[in-house]
């Protein structure tokens, strides 16, 4: 039963759009294509060996994760302001897709770091640490949503958590920045970043484009799934 405080949208046409569509297919093709290019058609970096190619997934996924999390925060603000169920759907979709991308960053990071930095986890690597805490906050967001039945309360509480989470991130950054850790002497990586050849740079740029397309396509698909779910609930309620 929807609470009276949410503006409902007109039923019908909205829920007939397919969840899996051309945009998602194109994004998947793009990602596979660029990774094939990365594996077979980009030179292997001299000092790190094949592990450097992990970066073609790790870094663009981080960017995708930040896009999703940024959308989560913006959609949450929009929901609190407008109380439009579509903003809430976007928030839900962005959170779920976001945690997928965050998980990939966290899974691939240590695999790269273990041989190259000589350590599984690098607390001094700001991106990795922030990604970890983002993961915790988005996970809490998803569990919170799952634990509330009333759509109005779910939207409100979720939005508050998302916005507070956005406020939290700069504080994590500041705290970890000051935090004294022994920087292990990187085993393989020299202090200056190894320079990228033009082919590597191109592959990187293509990879960024492909993963950005993927995150947007996935959010769009997940949004449609949410619309579909709402249609089911509305139909059930109207009986």
């Amino acid at each position: 039963m929807t609470s009276p405080s949410i503006r409902a949208e007109p039923m019908g046409a909205m829920n007939e759009k397919p969840v899996m569509d051309w945009m998602l297919a194109a994004a998947l093709v793009a990602v596979v294509a660029v990774l094939i290019r990365a594996i077979a058609f980009t030179p292997t970096e001299a000092t790190q060996g094949l592990a450097q190619k992990i970066y073609y997934i790790h870094v663009p996924s981080a960017l995708g994760a930040y896009v999703a999390v940024g959308l989560l925060a913006l959609a949450s603000l929009a929901y609190l302001w407008l109380r439009d169920v579509r903003a809430d759907r976007l928030a839900e979709a962005s959170a779920e897709v976001g945690i997928v991308f965050l998980s990939v960053v966290l899974a691939t990071g240590p695999l790269w770091g273990r041989r190259i930095w000589g350590t599984w986890w690098a607390w001094w690597d700001m991106r990795l640490t922030l990604t970890l805490f983002l993961w915790f906050v988005v996970a809490a967001y998803l569990v919170l949503r799952g634990a509330i039945d009333d759509p109005g309360m779910r939207g409100r509480y979720g939005a508050v958590l998302a916005i507070l989470g956005a406020l939290l991130i700069p504080f994590i950054h500041l705290s970890v920045y000051l935090f004294p850790t022994l920087h292990p002497m990187p085993i393989v990586l020299k202090p200056e970043r190894p320079s990228l050849s033009p082919e590597m740079l191109t592959t990187f740029l293509l990879s960024f484009a492909a993963f950005t397309l993927l995150v947007l396509a996935l959010i769009r698909s997940r949004y449609r799934l949410a619309s579909l779910g709402d249609a089911v609930r509305a139909t059930e309620g109207a009986r």
């Binding site: 109005g152 508050v160 507070l164 504080f171 500041l174």
Partner: protein, 231 residues
């Protein structure tokens, strides 16, 4: 209706706080549970490492902060549970006080609760971990109070949230702990240096972040609180 004006924000908050504390004083269950947990945890932690490698005094600050965080969670759990019975929260909302007063009042009660808890836990720490009495006690008390303000600001809001959900006991820690991290980190880093006798200036960078956190989140959570009670 009485012919008195409804109480102002702070007076109303104090009324709410007094109500919560009176209930707690009469039943004493939550305070007892938190205190026993804290002292027990302090004792248990003592046995978890090789004494010949690291001294107890070196470990003490870390243990203190872990125990503070988790006993705070126990204390926070109770702050809205007491309203669950008979939907007492509806009466609170209907009362002629602003919603900010409910938040400030509950937060105040939580602060007093946690400070009282520390009054027992700190001496236990000093005794179990063989810490020398010194100037550091005053500074550490200040740091802990600042941390408690942050913990309560965030925890009171999330307790209000969690009590309306299906897995309240699981959700409160899951929601709160990421937000406790800057409090824990900065508080622990600052107090470690202070306990070790280093000058306060060394602890200041951490303390500054903690104070900033308190200011930002006290305001943000107070603003967000009315949304927890909306229909």
């Amino acid at each position: 209706m009485t012919d008195r004006n409804p109480p102002g924000v702070l007076a109303a908050a104090w009324l709410v706080a007094r109500k919560d504390l009176t209930i707690e004083l009469r039943t004493r269950t939550a305070f007892l549970a938190s205190t026993v947990f804290a002292v027990l945890a302090l004792a248990i932690f003592y046995f978890t490492w090789d004494q010949s490698v690291v001294t107890a005094a070196d470990r003490a600050p870390g243990v203190l902060w872990v125990v503070l965080t988790f006993s705070a969670l126990i204390g926070l759990q109770r702050s809205f549970c007491v309203e669950e019975h008979d939907r007492a929260i509806d009466a609170l909302i209907a009362a002629p006080i602003g919603r900010e007063s409910i938040y400030i009042g509950k937060a105040l009660a939580n602060v007093i609760f946690l400070v009282a808890l520390q009054v027992i836990a700190i001496p236990a720490l000093v005794v179990f971990y063989n810490l020398p009495i010194g100037r550091w006690i005053g500074w550490v008390t200040l740091i802990i109070v600042l941390a408690i303000v942050g913990i309560v600001a965030v925890g009171t809001l999330f307790a209000a949230m969690a009590v309306n959900t299906r897995f309240a006991e699981l959700l409160l820690p899951m929601l709160s702990l990421p937000f406790f991290v800057p409090i824990l980190l900065n508080g622990a880093q600052a107090s470690t240096r202070v306990i070790a006798g280093r000058p306060l200036a060394e602890a200041w960078p951490w303390l500054r972040i903690l104070i900033g956190f308190d200011m930002v989140f006290a305001v943000a959570c107070a603003l967000a609180f009315p949304l927890m009670l909306d229909e």
